[in-house]
Amino acid sequence: MTDIIAQLKQGNEAAFKDLVARWQGMVYNTALGILQNAADAEDVAQEVFMQVFESVASFKGESQISTWLYRITVTKCLDHLRKKTRKKRWGKVYSLFGQQNELLIDPPDFHHPGVQLADKERAALLFKAIGRLPESQKVAFVLQKLEGLSSRQIGEAMDASVSAVEGLLHRAKQNLREQLEDYYRNED
């Protein structure tokens, strides 16, 4: 794996192509889980690899490539979400003054393509609840559920301790259960 990094540092395009082919699924799947929008996830995945290409010289190899990629992906996704929230907020302010340039309607339910058909509706409901979680809880939960990472791996990707990650996951699950129970209670 260090071979790829060494070749990338020399500007080898074939090495870059190899890296993209090997990690694109991981980066895209993580971005899709956090952003819950295929176009946004593709956009962020491209930005991640662009940053990898630009900053590979500063990668010292202290962590695994996957950890480095997860870190960049999470940072880019959170930046994207913040930008989107800011735009939405300004869109609401503009709409007060009659300038409706932004589409303010909430997006339709998100369906992850990897979910089994039998669980499709429940998963859509769960994703809706995930979307309402605080940032760090959302990232920890998505990395655990969609990427199957352990608490230690999540901690490395989020630059947090194992106990902090376990706390985040516990609170995330608690919040999700509360939201889902509320939904099912008021369903009828």
Binding site: V20, Y28, E42, A45, M50, P113, Y184
Partner: protein, 114 residues
């Protein structure tokens, strides 16, 4: 209204709905699209890079603030200098009047003396 047990059961099923989820892959030709974007994003030459740097709002605003600060500094220092100059000129004039330094020839001295 649903029973409490049903609600809990539904909730747990929803919580488990992502178990065994397959990894999503980007649409085909991801690398081609990535390369196209990288080509677009790469500035063509040094001039474009310079223009991109100058037109950044943070750089432009900082430059304007620096120019305004330099202007203000020059204006204030000029004002102070000109008031000092007036004072010095007045003193020089008073000194010149006192000792009649304006008179350059003997004949003129005669004219002023009674």
């Amino acid at each position: 209204m649903k029973q409490r047990r049903d609600i809990q059961q539904e909730t747990e099923q929803a919580m488990r709905s992502l178990d065994g989820v397959q990894r999503a892959e980007p649409a085909p030709y991801f690398y081609t699209r990535l390369m196209a974007r990288m080509q677009r994003a790469r500035p063509a030459d040094a001039w474009e890079r310079l223009i991109a740097l100058i037109t950044r709002p943070s750089v432009a605003i900082t430059a304007v603030v620096l120019i305004l600060a330099a202007n203000s500094f020059m204006f204030v220092s000029q004002m102070r200098h000109s008031s000092e100059l007036v004072e010095i000129t007045a003193l020089q004039q008073a000194f010149a009047d006192e000792y009649q330094l304006g008179i350059t020839t003997f004949y003129e001295y005669d004219k002023t003396e009674p």
